[in-house]
Assembly symmetry: C2
Homo-oligomer: 596 residues x 2
């Protein structure tokens, strides 16, 4: 499996759809179009040249625990060293702590490349960025001075220690304890599971952010605090000092991402320090939640792109049977399978979902930038609302999409798709975790309905729908796009009606929240992508009308948009009908009767 | 992962829906209801007690090739010995060759159990049954006398050697050669890949059925012959004699079914004998194709059942968060996750798809029995047409369904679903092959449209639709079922119209065959299952009205039927809309433009 970053499409999305250079200018970060393109080209070289070649072996070799030490697959440590040395680790870090302060609208493209090149490799650095966010926002000056610079540079890595055997989705149940000491530190004791990068051999120190309870904490989620618990306590000179009393008890044997160590971490009175206020741990975690969920969404996107590339390559090379309308390659023993309509259906489904999701990723990244970087407080607040609405969609839809697209990749390869050396089945196995961690996709859908839709009575969603509706109006009079615009406009109208019905149903019966959530999220995502495909088609039509020298590229965009509207968007109908089926048919079955 | 055969539902399907005892009486095989139930109970003990416990380890241990010998996972050889000794292997074999001649309507339930207990274990015996069919129908008396009895008893196993590196779907491309010898035998030379059970240590001999070309054979599929090539040539006394010149060159490293050896088989002038006429090899393979594809469909069904059982067990045990309508288990730290509507949605989707598919499996099994066992030639022919129409649906829909249901299983487990020891992710990996082998699901869909639908201008499908429509009419006046009957009746009407449109489109443009195939197959399956769920509801209503002592069981059937119609059947709408999107949007994209 070779991987090449989809640079042309990324430039289309960044510049032609979302004016990345103008965005950067407004943010005042000094990036212009040339610089952005230069960084992405270098990033593509790093992802394809240094990371992607490690991926296949990392799956075979996995991680190993011996005498408390975890060894990562061959090449990971060296590639990570380059990642740090070349400044990739610090791309999004805060400038005042040595970071480069890249906006998400640019950085997301690099992160997508990393995910596509090797999800296992990306896991280590992705969580570090989350730790940086939390520490930057909530950490004391002392903690920041000791730990933040090293995390920003990537010399030290970070983890999130949330889950315990009895507390996954439900953090109210967690039991890890933190006892205050006379010197202001805490002694942390308890066992955490599913800790990605909890122990490894790629960084000289590991900084754990641990959720725990203080002795007098109230029960439930209001009694949870966040603590920084390093593997080595930072010495005065900034080097890793005293070894803390925490250890990796086991590593998990998993379906995929075998190059990422997933650890049971035991804290035995380990020394830690409070991050943020006592009992405010969950609020601190929320700081990084948008970012972390956005990153997991990008994992689905990156794997989807990798699967599409693999499938396309094979479909053009593999000769098997003749086309339904006659021989296409008379000089060959059989036609390449890309001539078969059903193979094209799979490839185009991959392409339309991946490129459509990339547009939504960029749109969301832009909002994430504006949350901090917009000029007015009002604009920052508006961006915050928009990002909050979209994050659960990005996380859940992209990761479901990544799994589907990886599965199409396997299917295009036929029997070879099932064989490990071809690399396609690994993409399915690696991507399956993305639907589970950082809040299962069911939890994302609950968040979307309960907090985001019901939270403001549907106001923010209405605003989003209105924005897309205006985009349709703008294209409705152009002959080449009128038909597409009317299809999207009709769906937007349907979406508005459906939103009203969902809100009313949920207000009538709280079970409807969970009964409609997944289908409504999926419905929303398919209609949103239709809106983005209309925009892509419009920009492609602009370029063609302006006599672009890349006519084939823009023509392909029009074809993909047409395909999406005709053959993917219909899925929205099924989700709509299903959710209107209601909660009653879910709740009627007696618990014991499931077993019949 | 423990596995328990779903005996109550199997009895419901066999007796209450399809009158298995009456069916057996008409076939004259001496099986009555008591005997059938007794056999299934014993089968359930074997599947749960002897086979299922091997499954988890078989995935970890896999198969190993050393010095040309393949070792299967611990326990497989012993379990296979019991399988043979206890007569399970010979269940469906022809009576005149030592088989027990069980009808498919009964045997399918046992085979589903085996698939659910361990797909890897079942692979070895499943292919042997295919070899029995081919040899029984096409083999010479001498070959039958030497090999058939041992295959029927299961002492010897069989394989199907079709695929070569350059010839998968497209058998016209195969190159293996068979040179006639003076004594009437052939010397077979060539390399075959993906040969399940090609080499193993569970049976004393392996009988390969090999597709090859004779020296003067015409090109393409009309020049393919079928040969029997045993690992050990049968000695005069019926024991394995001379070792033949064939060997296992490698075993594949796969995503799943790691307990099943998947071999590269090299034939180096190996001695073989023609089965059937020269150049009629494909016709001979067709003999076993219906059976083989039906069996692969059952693999999806069996794995689906296993995944449902695992998910249900976990959903009732795992405590996490509180119900949306308030605390459900105040004595516990949290509610079992089965109280959450979205978890119920996943469980009921599993249940409704698995039980719905089981009804279609039984219906199809009954037709397969009637192909040989119906009294009149006319009835045998009618059953043959019906079975031929349904087989591609069973194969493709059940295996897609199995993968989906296994994925729901992983999702219900949350992060634990990704961990190997819990067994859920293995079901996903194991079932993924079923969508690929024995003809990819895309090939099944082509077969459904091209041979089955266009082959007779839609006549057989019309007959099936009419049969289901009559069933709706029969229930339309019963108050409890009228609403369900009208939903199903409306879909049947829509299906009829859609069939006409699909036929017209395919006649207008051959690309529409491949452009509509997968969506039309899926659409058909969802509507068919709706018809079966209506029948299940009707029998449940009968039982309730008759004052059955199992009211909870029948009430659950009514709930499941309601759930299926409200929340699963809507998927048909998406497939209908998508296929009406047509071929143009698939074929318009230039081959080179996919890569943009």
């Amino acid at each position: 499996m070779s991987y090449q970053a989809p640079l042309r499409d990324m430039r289309f999305v960044l510049h032609e759809l979302f004016d990345a250079a103008g965005h950067c200018e407004r943010l005042g970060n000094g990036l212009d179009r040339e610089l952005i393109d230069g960084v992405l080209e270098e990033a593509a070289v790093f992802a394809a040249g240094e990371v992607a070649p490690l991926n296949r072996n990392s799956d075979e070799e996995g991680c190993h625990l011996e005498n408390g030490q975890v060894s990562t697959p061959k090449g990971f440590a060296e590639a990570y060293r380059q990642y740090v040395d070349n400044g990739w680790a610090s791309m999004t870090g805060p400038v005042e702590h040595g970071g480069q302060g890249f906006p998400q609208l640019v950085a997301f493209a690099f992160h997508e490349m990393l995910m596509g090149a090797s999800l296992s490799f990306r896991v280590y650095s992705g969580l570090t960025e989350g730790a940086v966010l939390a520490l930057h926002k909530h950490g004391s000056e002392t903690l920041k001075q000791q730990y933040l610079g090293k995390l920003v540079s990537g010399q030290w890595t970070g983890t999130m220690c949330l889950t315990e055997p009895q507390a996954g989705t439900d953090l109210a149940l967690l039991r890890t304890r933190a006892e205050p000491q006379a010197d202001g530190s805490y002694r942390v004791s308890g066992s955490k599971i599913f800790i990605s990068g909890g122990e490894q051999d790629i960084s000289e120190n590991i900084v754990h952010l641990v959720l725990a309870r203080l002795p007098d904490a109230p029960a439930g989620v209001k009694g949870i605090s966040l603590l920084l618990v390093p593997k080595f306590i930072a010495a005065a000179d900034g080097t890793p000092g005293e070894r803390n009393t925490l250890s990796c008890g086991a590593i998990e044997h998993k379906m995929g991402i075998k190059g990422a160590s997933t650890c049971v971490m035991n804290f035995d009175g380990a020394t830690g320090w409070l991050v943020g206020e006592a009992n405010q741990g969950l609020a601190c975690m929320f700081t990084m939640m948008n970012d972390a969920r956005f990153q997991v969404g990008l994992q689905g996107l990156g794997i989807g792109e990798a699967a599409f590339q693999g499938a396309l390559r094979y479909a053009r090379e593999r000769l098997q049977s003749r086309g339904l309308a006659g021989v296409q390659a008379p000089d060959k023993a059989a036609d390449p399978i890309i001539v078969h309509p059903d193979v094209r259906r799979m490839l185009l489904t991959q392409k339309a979902l991946v490129e459509g999701s990339r547009m939504l990723a960029a749109y969301t990244a832009r909002q994430l930038d504006l949350v901090h970087g917009a000029e007015s407080a009002e604009a920052r607040k508006a961006a915050g609302k928009r990002a909050a609405l979209l994050i659960p969609i990005v996380k859940a839809f992209f990761t479901d999409m990544g799994q589907e697209v990886a599965s199409h990749g396997v299917q295009v390869y036929g029997g070879h798709g099932f064989i490990r050396e071809w690399g396609m089945e690994q993409l399915m196995r690696d991507s399956r975790i993305t639907q589970l961690y950082e809040g299962t996709n069911g939890i994302q859908a609950l968040d979307y309905i309960r907090r985001k839709l019901l939270g403001d009575g549907g106001a923010e969603l209405s605003a989003l729908q209105a924005e897309f509706s205006q985009l349709c109006d703008a294209e409705a009079d152009r002959r080449a796009l009128a038909q597409m615009a009317s299809v999207v406009q009709a769906r937007l109208g349907e979406w508005r009606e459906l939103s009203t019905e969902v809100i009313a149903a949920c207000q009538r019966d709280p079970q409807e929240i969970g009964a409609t959530s997944v289908d409504f999220l999926q419905y929303s995502a398919y209609v949103l992508l239709a809106g983005f495909w209309l925009q892509a088609a419009a920009r492609a039509q602009d370029a063609l009308e302006a006599g672009s020298g890349e006519a084939a590229f823009y023509q392909a965009k029009l074809h993909s948009a047409e395909f999406y509207l005709r053959r993917v968007l219909p899925r929205a109908s099924a989700h709509r009908e299903a959710l209107l089926g209601g909660a009653q048919c879910l709740m009627a079955m007696d618990e014991d009767s499931f077993a019949f």
